[in-house]
């Protein structure tokens, strides 16, 4: 197959590479207890939260940097060379979109998020409420009032700390303790902002909730925190999408996402991640070390993760579900694309504790260029998890002979009534498939897009409509012209 086309793709530039010139309020680089205190003070946080941060910081400080057990390699990160706070200098209280910095709005427009359009469409069904995170501070939350009518709380994490401290205190760190791992501890110490979402009992959230993360200021790490609580018999579909402007130095992103599903609740969390992956020589790009975990706390609850990962130089991410309640369901649908020198080590953990719990894992990896793409997942059936059921399928598609695709599933079963299946395949795009398309007048590039889309269909189908379109576009851009 034509290497020229592949080369052409490899040389393709990052299409979302632009920076916004906005005055930012940034901390000097470095990390110590004073920085944590200053951060907490700046956000006017209660004493207990400062204590929490400090505890996490002290724990983190004494941890050795994790060994590189994952199938990724990156230079040592200098945590003292990062600024831990960067907020756009905008008026503190924003009541309407007009008050938002027009530069900022333009940025969002370029990304296709268009807050203004959102605004205009208020009242029309199937709208998306956007909590826009620009660098570390949540700038604007749209549709908040519409949501408030239903009792849904959807706001920035800092606001939630001020307005709903009891909820934050109750749920924060419930699934991801500050001591969970190196990057979770770091996040717990220095998280700057994020989103908080609470769906009250019996409420079906009337619209898709969405946050848009974007790393902007150079040399600033982003440490956001998302907390989603779905009370009994509620439903919410939550979207998170990211693009980041082109930067030369590596930027660190260590987020924490926690989901708590009460009795009968369902949470659907979808991500499209397209941060700057570095140029074709692997220079620059985002380091994405994220801890995402949900717990099905009580019976009949359900958590579903769907992710389309095309960006970041290094991805280290395992959205997991703890199936504690009886009859609870966990799902993980993932498409991970790596190109050039990108490295991704991603997968999931399904921990079955309750009876009759079910989990499904569908992972589709696509590697091109010089990249390495790994699936790493754990399916654990604890003792007493009667009639647990898991099905996992991990497929890898290789484009070009310089990339790697790997599968590392861990399966641990301690109950005899469990049924666990795992299958994985690795292959390239079939010559026969390509031939079939070309014979019918479809040119190579379109044929590849068609085949890849078909290959990922199972996962893309799980995305909300609005997102699926963007994801498909992203996939096409990411693999433009790359023929296996």
């Amino acid at each position: 197959m034509s290497n020229d086309i592949l080369e052409e793709h490899i040389q393709g530039d990052y299409k979302y590479g632009f920076t916004t010139n906005i005055e930012t309020d940034t901390f000097a680089k470095g990390l110590n207890e004073d920085v944590v205190r200053a951060l907490s003070k700046k956000k006017n946080e209660p004493e207990w939260l400062l204590e929490y941060r400090l505890k996490a910081f002290r724990f983190w400080k004494n941890l050795p940097e994790p060994e590189q057990w994952a199938h990724i390699t990156y230079p040592k990160i200098n945590f003292q060379d990062i600024s831990y706070y960067s907020a756009p200098k905008v008026k503190p209280e924003i009541k309407s979109l007009d008050e938002v910095d027009p530069e900022l709005l333009k940025t969002f427009e370029k990304l296709g998020i268009s807050l203004e359009e959102q605004k205009r469409l208020t009242g029309v069904q199937s709208n998306i409420a956007v909590d826009a995170v620009f660098d570390s501070v949540s700038v604007k939350t749209t549709f908040r009032e519409t949501l408030a009518e239903k009792g849904v709380i959807f706001c920035s994490f800092s606001e939630a700390v001020q307005e709903h401290p009891e909820l934050i205190k109750k749920y924060m760190s419930m699934v991801v303790p500050a001591t969970d791992n190196y990057y979770a501890a770091l996040n717990s110490a220095v998280f700057s902002d994020g989103s908080f979402c609470y769906i009250p009992k019996g409420v079906r959230c009337p619209m898709e909730l969405s946050t848009y993360f974007r790393i902007n200021a150079s040399g600033t790490g982003q440490f956001e925190r998302t907390l989603i609580v779905a009370d009994e018999d509620s439903y919410v579909s939550y979207l998170e999408g990211c693009t980041a402007p082109q930067r030369d130095e590596n930027q660190l992103h260590a987020a924490v996402v926690e989901i708590i599903a009460h009795k009968g609740a369902e949470v659907k969390y979808s991500t499209v991640q397209n941060w700057y992956p570095g140029d074709k020589d692997g220079k620059g790009g985002i380091y994405n070390f994220v801890t995402k975990r949900g717990i099905c706390l009580e019976e009949n609850s359900k958590i579903s993760w769907t992710q389309v990962e095309t960006g970041s130089a290094i991805t280290w991410k395992y959205p997991s579900v703890i199936l504690k309640g009886d009859n609870s369901v966990g799902e993980f649908y993932s498409v991970a694309v790596t190109n050039n020198k990108q490295e991704a080590d991603t997968g999931t953990k399904m921990i079955h504790i309750g009876k009759n719990t079910r989990s499904t894992i569908i992972s589709k990896g696509i590697s091109a260029g010089f990249s390495n793409n790994s699936y790493r997942g754990l399916v654990q059936i604890r003792k007493g998890a009667k009639n647990a059921r898991n099905f996992s399928q991990c497929d890898s598609l290789l484009m070009g002979d310089k990339c790697g695709a790997h599968t590392f599933p861990y399966i641990e079963i301690k109950d005899k009534s469990a049924i666990v299946e795992h299958e994985a395949t690795t292959s390239k795009i079939g010559e026969d498939q390509l031939f079939y398309c070309k014979q019918r007048g479809i040119e190579t590039e379109k044929a590849v897009a068609l085949i890849v889309n078909g290959y990922c269909k199972e996962v893309l189908n799980k995305l909300p409509m609005e997102f699926a379109v963007e994801a498909q576009k992203l996939l096409a851009v990411s693999l433009e012209g790359s023929v296996g």
């Binding site: 290789l398 790997h406 590392f408 005899k416 795992h422 299958e423 292959s427 390239k428």
Partner: protein, 426 residues
């Protein structure tokens, strides 16, 4: 942490080196390297990725306070029942090749030596495949190997009858043994080899077995590994196989007993068009731990590998399967398949599986599948509805499950023996 790890290794070295014979059939460098490795890395514990489910540091600390290295002689009558009538039977006793207990070689084309025949030989083949710096137990073997067996089949010789090597351990007090073999098939040679492991003593044994197998162009090695060492044996069994072009390696490992059995089976496909098959079957009960670790290392294009591992886990025992298919950068047109199926019979047992694919070439077909479950209720119902009792129905289904692997055995008497053994153990 590191200091603590090498402590266990140091303790073992101290207690076994006094009575160990000097290993002079392995190059001095390798032996030196072995000690360096053990000093630095020690015995792996559960934090070691490759020994995640098999914490040898813990096992050795708990089960072996000391190695007394006291063995007894064995009479021919004691091992008679392990011999195969249609085969040439060779005996390695407590790690050393024992000519008196072995059959005479009555066919042309086979050369048997003990390892010490290579003493001082600069070109010694021993440890040319198994390198000290790869694994603690390889290092231990290189440092303390017994005077094991070297088996060579000469050019273009097709050996008409199977050869069986019986590794017999018989200790008076807790001991460490290091049986070792090197099997060399010259070009166009063919051999069917059975390696059987037994412990007939009354004391605990830690058996650190290592075998290197070199299969030259167009040669074919069919091999069976029968493990029946009983509850007093803790073992690590390392097989490192190199396949040259157009060669075939076909192994079936049946684990019938052993308190802790760890199998490290590596097939390295270094010549084009070579084919490797690894099959395994284990039945565990009590508090046994059986850990099968395989590696299919595809280094060159156009090779094929197949793996089928099946396990039945009962009582408080644990079964582990960890298989890796490794396709190197230039190994295009590789076909590699792996399948692991397990049945868990008890609530106190555990099955851990980690099938891995690590692939750096694009024009390949690789897949793995693993499943774990209970005995199929529908199948059980079908049999019971036809008047077959619960126990017999289960037995029948388990036999059917096991037969897929047992059927790979082509030595009739051996196959019958395994079948009888399994019938009694259900």
């Amino acid at each position: 942490m590191i200091a603590e790890k090498s402590q266990t290794a140091q303790k073992i070295i101290d207690s076994i080196s006094a009575s160990a014979q000097k290993v002079n059939f392995i190059s001095g460098n390798e032996v030196e390297e072995a000690f360096t490795y053990l000093e630095n890395k020690g015995i792996p514990n559960a934090k070691h990725e490759e020994y995640k489910y098999c914490n040898f540091d813990g096992i050795l600390k708990k089960e072996f306070k000391n190695f007394y290295q006291k063995f007894t002689e064995v009479a021919a009558s004691e091992i008679k029942k392990y011999k195969l009538n249609e085969a040439i039977n060779l005996v390695v006793l407590n790690g050393n090749y024992n000519e008196a207990l072995s059959d005479k070689i009555i066919v042309k084309g086979i050369t048997i030596k003990n390892l010490q025949n290579f003493s001082g030989n600069n070109l010694t083949p021993i440890a040319s495949i198994a390198k000290s710096n790869t694994d603690a137990f390889v290092a231990f073997s290189n440092a303390f190997s017994g005077n094991g067996i070297y088996l060579e089949v000469e050019n273009a010789n097709v050996i008409p009858m199977p050869v069986q090597i019986i590794y017999v351990n018989c200790a008076l007090e807790d001991s460490w043994v290091s049986p070792r073999s090197f099997v060399h098939l010259q070009k166009n040679a063919e051999l069917t080899l059975t390696e059987r492991f037994v412990n007939i003593g009354k004391a605990k044994v830690f058996s650190n077995f290592l075998s290197e197998k070199l299969i030259e162009e167009n040669a074919k090695l069919i091999s069976y590994t029968i493990q029946q060492e009983g509850s007093l044996t803790y073992s690590v069994n390392t097989n490192q196989v190199h396949l040259k072009s157009n060669s075939v390696y076909d192994n079936t490992t049946i684990t019938l007993s052993g308190q802790v059995v760890r199998n490290n089976h590596h097939a390295v496909l270094i010549g084009e068009n070579s084919v490797a098959h690894l099959n395994g079957l284990f039945f565990t009960g009590g508090t046994q731990l059986v850990d099968n670790h395989t590696l299919m290392d595809h280094q060159v294009p156009n090779c094929e590998s197949n793996e089928l591992y099946k396990g039945v886990v009962n009582d408080k025992s644990t079964g582990v399967f960890n298989g890796k298919i490794f396709v190197r950068k230039d190994a295009q047109k590789t076909n590699a398949f792996q399948s692991s199926k397990n049945i868990l019979l008890s609530d106190d047992g555990a099955i851990n599986a980690k099938p891995q694919l690590e692939i750096y070439a694009n024009d390949v077909k690789c897949s793995h599948g693993t499943s774990t479950g209970k005995i199929d209720d529908a199948a059980l119902f079908y049999l019971k509805a036809r008047g077959i009792g619960d126990a017999s129905a289960k037995k029948l289904l388990l036999r059917a499950f096991a037969n897929e692997v047992i059927d790979k055995i082509e030595i009739e008497s051996l196959k019958e023996e395994i079948e009888t053994e399994l019938n009694t153990s259900f």
